[in-house]
């Protein structure tokens, strides 16, 4: 059976990442950053990538990575979710990396693994693993087209662009026009990408299997990020309700609220099991399809509900810009669309389990 616990090494990794984020990614700073022209924290990214080697967790050692598995990457994502850290870990170190692994693109993989290059798959963040995706035109050796909802594109050095010849191309970001879109999720903004006759782009391999593999891993590991988001929201809400007094007693002592919090706790505990199962399934390659869609169908509604409840239970302060709960709600809601909605994953499940629609 699947190993659903955290190993000692994984706990050590968690502690290291959490320490770093505690020191360098305070919620107040994240809020300030979202209001600037540069919502991403590139310095934090460098520390995670250079200092801790996290960008290369999924890359084999012979290609310059850490040769770890999805289990470790999942732990990192939990912590990044808990801090709503504005870094391109999921997009570069997971999604683009998986696409490059499928293409066997060694040189570029090594660059991504070292963190010197940020890579982004130029497929809309909302795209489900099995869904179709827009491609750009290849005409006379040049790439033309427009792509939207590309997460973290504004900090990308290289874009992995699917074209209508079925290929996946590595395009330097400098050869494209990238325009930030006003995004619901302030900490993982999406962008519009225009290619106006980009020549000399390197063909990495076939787009279809690369994109499919990348989005499949993304959907599975996103559950761990959602776990981190939900876990933060629950922990903070419990802490707040122990302190906040109304009617001369802590608000958290009222049974109507206690029952809501206990129910949320149960959902977070279940989400942890689902997310661990998905990470382990991706790492071992066993029973991956069902486990990933189950995790993603379960995770999104839970993360949204816990952050929504956190907002409500924080009362007036929950609706303010200065309190970070809105960052988590925005991330949770955007994550519920990222790599396919819960409904899309349930439909996929119907096919996998023989529970066909009418």
């Amino acid at each position: 059976m699947t190993d659903l616990l955290y190993s000692e090494e994984e706990e050590a990794l968690r502690a290291a990442v959490r320490d770093l984020l505690t020191d360098h990614c305070a919620p107040a700073d994240v809020i300030v950053r979202t209001e600037s022209d540069a919502p991403h924290d590139v310095r934090l990214w460098k520390t995670l990538a250079d200092g801790m080697g996290l960008a290369g967790l999924l890359v084999p050692e012979e290609l310059g990575g850490q040769g770890a598995t999805h289990r470790e990457a999942a732990v990192v994502l939990e912590e990044l979710g808990r801090a709503v850290a504005p870094v391109p870990y999921l997009t570069s170190a997971v999604v683009a990396t998986e696409a490059l692994l499928e293409c066997g693109a060694g040189d570029l993989l090594a660059e991504l693994a070292s963190g010197t290059t940020i890579g982004v798959l130029a497929v809309g963040l909302h795209t489900a693993p099995g869904a179709g995706f827009p491609v750009v035109r290849l005409e006379g050796g040049a790439l033309h087209g427009e792509l939207t909802a590309i997460a973290d594109a504004t900090v990308a050095d290289v874009l992995l662009v699917p074209a209508d010849d079925g290929g996946l191309y590595a395009v330097p970001a400098s050869a494209t026009t990238i325009t930030a879109q006003v995004s619901l999720d302030l900490t993982r903004p999406v962008a519009h990408v225009a290619l106006e006759g980009v020549r000399g782009a390197h063909r990495l391999g076939d787009a279809e299997p690369a994109v499919r593999r990348a989005l499949h891993a993304a959907a599975g590991l996103l559950a761990s990020e959602q776990l981190g988001v939900a876990d933060w929201a629950l922990t903070e809400t419990v802490r707040y309700l122990k302190e906040r007094k109304q009617f001369n007693r802590p608000v958290g002592g009222f049974q109507a609220l206690k029952h809501r919090l206990a129910q949320l706790w149960l959902e977070v505990v279940s989400l942890r099991a689902a997310a661990r199962a998905a990470a382990d399934a991706l790492a071992t390659g066993e029973d991956t399809d069902i486990t990933v869609v189950v995790a993603q169908a379960y995770a999104a509604p839970v993360a949204v509900r816990v952050t929504e409840e956190a907002l409500q239970l924080h009362g007036g302060i929950g609706m303010t810009w200065e309190h970070p709960v809105h960052l988590y709600l925005k991330r949770a809601k955007a994550d519920s669309i990222a790599y396919g909605t819960a409904g899309t994953h349930r439909e996929a499940l119907a096919g996998l389990t023989g529970l066909q629609a009418p």
């Binding site: 190993d3 029952h259 206990a262 149960l266 661990r276 379960y298 119907a350 389990t353 009418p358």
Partner: protein
């Protein structure tokens, strides 16, 4: 300490000396108990070998492969899950020797005389009185002199009472102290005069539960478990084990209530609607996640980590069972208007899969009530796991006899 290899050796020895094919079921079970292979984490001489609990699986797998009989744990679940751990922890040497072996082999079935008509969720409010024959029952602490205890009162929701040889019983022995302090825990002989078991028919039509009337029942002091007045603390052991044992079964995918409804869906396309499809898929996902959560809890326990998830598993199962079985009745459409059998029966165990969807729907309504209501469990999670302030207690320092009833 015993390791897996030693256990396999011992198990094979047992199988060699008592080949399952040529040994009567009860003889085999007794021999297994005496070999320390019944519950390996129990002490030597009491059916165990002081081995890690996780190694039981090794023994079970060997025995299963050899086609050995089991002790029908579902039928004797109350004894195994609740009475045994309590007797092990609080019982005297004589009590452990007397009760544990026939309990484990299933020769003697146990029931639990805890709940009363006026003491369900507020169990410590119980009013069944036990009075020492010489009248010296008040006060807490040591055994003291005196004769038998005489018990009067009524218990309710007692599963298996009609089959049971023994009961774990909590009683009020001191009404002059606050409710938690005046309780004493006994082992009650269900064959004694004064014990009357009446079936309690449920919404399913069958009488799986009972009411038990105790009228002048004499219990010798040697059947007291723990100190006089310490019954609440002893009962905590029972209740904690009750919740741990619920949800302890390892199920394959679609192994729970979702199984029958998924099969019906696949086999009968004519019943499908879009609304039911959405709900089915959502519940399928939740059932699968619940399975992972239970598995994670088991892995935590096996690794010696505290598994708070246990407090939540029963909550999750109760809600899931109710939603899934409710969906199944609707899915069956016209058939959902029917019910397999309203005959009043007294079953030995709850048989969810042997009955139809209507039965599952009605019986699962009990899942959020029995073994601690969902509301009580939510309080437990909120207070003990999340550390939220406890409910205000107005009855904490009031003598039991002065409480409003």
């Amino acid at each position: 300490m015993t390791n897996a290899e030693e256990l396999i050796c011992r198990t094979r020895e047992l199988l060699k000396e008592h080949p399952p094919a040529g040994t009567a079921r009860l003889d085999f079970l007794r021999a297994r108990f005496d070999a320390g292979l019944a519950w390996v984490h129990y002490p030597e001489g009491l059916g165990g070998l002081d081995a890690p609990r996780s190694l039981q699986a090794v023994v079970d797998a060997e025995l299963e492969a050899a086609g050995a009989p089991d002790n029908d744990p579902r039928r004797i679940g109350i004894g195994l899950g609740m009475a045994a751990p309590t007797i092990l922890r609080y019982g005297t040497r004589e009590q452990r020797q007397r009760y544990l072996r026939p309990l484990w082999t299933g020769e003697e079935v146990w029931c639990q005389l805890f709940s009363e008509p006026g003491a369900g969720s507020d169990l410590a409010a119980l009013g069944t009185r036990a009075v020492r024959e010489d009248g010296s029952s008040s006060g807490t602490g040591g055994a003291g002199g005196g004769g038998d205890w005489v018990v009067n009162g009524q218990k309710v929701w007692t599963s298996s009472a009609h089959l049971a040889r023994w009961a774990i019983l909590i009683t009020r022995t001191d009404p002059d102290v606050p409710k938690h302090q005046g309780i004493t825990y006994f082992i009650c002989d269900m064959t004694d005069p004064g014990v009357e078991v009446r079936p309690l028919r449920q919404i399913t039509g069958e009488a799986e539960f009972n009411e038990v009337f105790l009228t002048g029942v004499r219990i010798p002091d040697s059947r007291r478990l723990g100190a006089i007045g310490d019954g609440w603390r002893v009962a905590q052991t029972t209740l904690m084990n009750e919740r741990v044992s619920i949800g302890g079964m390892r199920l394959p995918r679609e192994g729970g209530m979702i199984g029958p409804v998924a099969r019906t869906w696949r086999e009968r396309p004519g019943l499908r609607t879009h609304d039911l499809h959405q709900r089915l898929l959502k519940l399928w996902v939740e059932a699968e996640v619940s399975r992972f959560t239970a598995e994670r809890l088991r892995q935590q326990l096996a690794a010696g980590q505290p598994g708070y998830e246990g407090s939540g598993m029963k909550l999750a199962f109760a809600r899931l069972n109710q939603e899934i079985s409710g969906l199944e009745v609707e899915l069956r459409g016209e058939e959902g208007l029917l019910y397999d059998d309203w005959t009043m029966r007294r079953p030995e165990l709850v048989d969810f899969t042997g009955r139809d969807a209507g039965y599952r729907y009605l019986r699962s309504k009990g899942n959020s009530i029995e073994g601690g209501t969902s509301e009580v469990l939510l309080n437990i999670v909120a207070e003990r796991v999340l550390g939220l302030p406890p409910e205000p207690r107005t009855d904490k320092d009031v003598a039991w006899k002065d409480l409003a009833r």
